[in-house]
């Protein structure tokens, strides 16, 4: 009996320790980023572009990367939504009776979700070579769009599935067409759409492997789709390797900015999900 109790206790402690490691790793990472980043944070960092070249110049900040990231993640999310809202509606509201078809489509998106961003980057690069686009804001947006489509479709699909069947039937029985019913459903899932936007934006802003080949890098804020653009992750990646201390500092500060941005986005989306499930009928 004592042996069994001891065994129970032993494994319980082991489990608690494991939980502490898993949850603690989050605080360790965020702590490290804050500790290193805060000394280099100042107003210049978020209001100026790097002076004298991003790799050696000691002056300025990372405004180019902040704006570039917002452009790419924003553009990709908008493009992604235009594609994924119809897809999610189609899977849920238009395919009738054929469960296998929709299951297969869902699985395809699960698989697409699992494809690593470096493969999307390489594929985006192939598309660009094919159409003769150079590394630019446009190229980055294309690659990140490919990356976020599966996230958007999966999230939208999940929220549409929570809409009760009665609501759809009620709309249909009033003589609404399928498309009119879809509009009712879309209104119902609006908080879910915001969640999807946040998730996609968060993923888009943080990814580096997909924009590495496609967006290029520039010290300037891009003024057209065909100019190369910097992003925060790229700025971190490139500047961390610099021998100049101030430039490394810029990488730490960028890491802090990016972490803060992503944490805010994640928290917002969590709150959205909670709110959504509370208002569910």
């Amino acid at each position: 009996m004592i042996k069994r109790k001891l065994e129970e206790l032993f494994f319980k402690i082991l489990m608690i320790l494991a939980t502490i490691v898993v949850v603690g790793s989050f605080f360790l990472i965020v702590g490290t980023i804050f500790y290193k980043g805060i000394p280099f944070m100042n107003l210049d960092m978020i209001t100026k572009t790097p002076g004298g070249g991003f790799y050696i110049g000691k002056e300025g900040g990372v405004l180019n990367a902040i704006i570039g990231s917002l452009y790419i993640a924003g553009g990709a999310t908008v493009l992604g939504l235009i594609i994924s809202i119809p897809v999610a509606i189609y899977i849920n509201l238009y395919i009738k009776g054929r469960k296998i078809t929709s299951a297969l489509i869902r699985m395809a998106f699960d698989v697409l979700f699992g494809i690593p961003s470096i493969v999307y980057g390489a594929f985006g690069f192939l598309i660009m070579v094919y159409f003769g686009i150079r590394a630019s804001l446009l190229g980055g947006i294309i690659a990140v769009t490919l990356l976020v489509i599966p996230i958007l479709v999966r999230t939208l699909d999940e929220v549409i599935r929570t809409v009760p069947g009665e609501l759809r039937d009620a709309a249909l029985s009033l003589g609404a067409t399928r498309w009119e019913m879809a509009k009712v459903v879309l209104k119902q899932i609006r908080p879910g759409i915001y969640t999807a936007i946040l998730l996609s934006f968060g993923r888009g802003i943080g990814d580096v492997a997909s924009v590495l080949f496609t967006a290029g890098f520039s010290d300037n804020i891009p003024t057209s789709l065909h100019e190369p653009a910097a992003t925060l992750p790229l700025a971190i990646f490139f500047q961390l390797g610099s021998p100049v201390e101030e430039v490394q500092g810029r990488a730490y500060a960028s890491a802090l900015i990016l972490t803060l941005l992503v944490l805010v986005i994640t928290v917002l989306s969590e709150v959205m999900i909670k709110k959504f499930s509370k208002h569910k009928i």
């Binding site: 069994r4 109790k5 129970e8 290193k36 897809v87 470096i118 493969v119 594929f123 986005i265 994640t266």
Partner: protein, 283 residues
């Protein structure tokens, strides 16, 4: 809508075909077998052996899974079976926050924390000298990156296990741990396997974080303190030169194709297991 759906679904095939098409030149030059088993990597001489990179990927992924799996299984058991609902409600959001952190931040953390830690605290006990940039560093960083994925899948799988089963075992006088060991693990086994397979495929494709910490030496690692050079890092590091050396772009696209095929297979397998499990437990 049909067009968009079909277009995005067929993206899988298009990516595969596109990458394969660009790999044809190198496949003409040497066979699959040669590419995968030769270990000499000299692009300037036209020698492309992927063996060191494949081994680098396997080492880093293996270490990550060995570290992450036990920790995550224990964490999931604790959260689902032991933790007070309030505790669970506080802890789960942190796991979600961890999953939102971008890869490059994990990389920075690896460079600033894990690499120096290995160099000064772990490696001296085992080897004469290590810079810290090693497959072990890559494995640890990757392990932390896949924590949220495994924990959230296991969390879902474990909560779908019927309460009656647990109650029956507990009523027979078994302790909670005995119930976990003899009943729950058996029921959850397919879910644990699926989560592992999914985690492996995520780890295979992870690029930047691993690239930043694992040294990037095109050699076959022989210990955890050796540097390695995984496939994704190879692609990411060399895209700049790839158009200036003949066959180089084809070789890199072949690397991407390899990754794509492996990850595709792993994903399909794990998704099939998970869907079956879901169906079995809900009916």
């Amino acid at each position: 809508m049909l067009v968009f759906t079909m277009a995005s679904v067929s993206l899988i095939a298009i990516i595969g075909i596109g990458l394969f098409y660009r790999s044809i030149p190198i496949l003409h030059q040497s066979s699959w077998h040669d590419l995968l088993t030769k270990s000499v990597w000299k692009p300037l001489k036209g020698l492309f052996g992927f063996y060191p990179f494949i081994m680098g990927t396997l080492w880093v992924t293996g270490i990550a899974i060995i570290i992450a799996l036990p920790l995550c299984v224990l964490t999931a058991f604790y959260l689902v079976e032991y933790a007070h609902p309030k505790v669970k409600r506080v802890l789960i959001p942190f796991v979600n926050l961890l999953s939102g952190i971008p890869p490059v931040i994990f990389g920075v953390w690896g460079v600033l924390f894990i690499v120096p830690f290995i160099q000064s605290s772990i490696a001296p006990h085992f080897v004469d000298f290590s810079t810290g940039y090693s497959v072990l560093a890559g494995g640890i960083v990757l392990a932390v990156m896949i924590f949220p994925l495994i924990v959230s899948i296991l969390n879902e799988v474990l909560t779908t296990i019927p309460q009656e089963l647990k109650d029956a075992s507990l009523a027979l006088g078994a302790t909670k741990w005995e119930t976990i060991k003899k009943v729950i693990i058996r029921k959850a086994a397919p879910g644990i396997i699926a989560a592992t397979v999914l985690a492996i495929s995520r780890a295979f494709g992870e690029t930047i974080a691993v690239l930043m910490v694992c040294g990037n030496n095109a050699i076959v690692p022989h210990s955890v303190f050796d540097p390695g050079y995984p496939l994704p890092a190879l692609i990411a590091n060399n895209y700049g030169e790839m158009l200036s050396i003949p066959m180089y772009d084809s070789a890199l696209m072949f690397a991407a194709l390899l990754l794509f095929i492996i990850i595709l297979l792993f994903n399909i397998v794990s998704r099939i297991i998970l869907t079956r499990l879901e169906r079995k437990l809900t009916t």
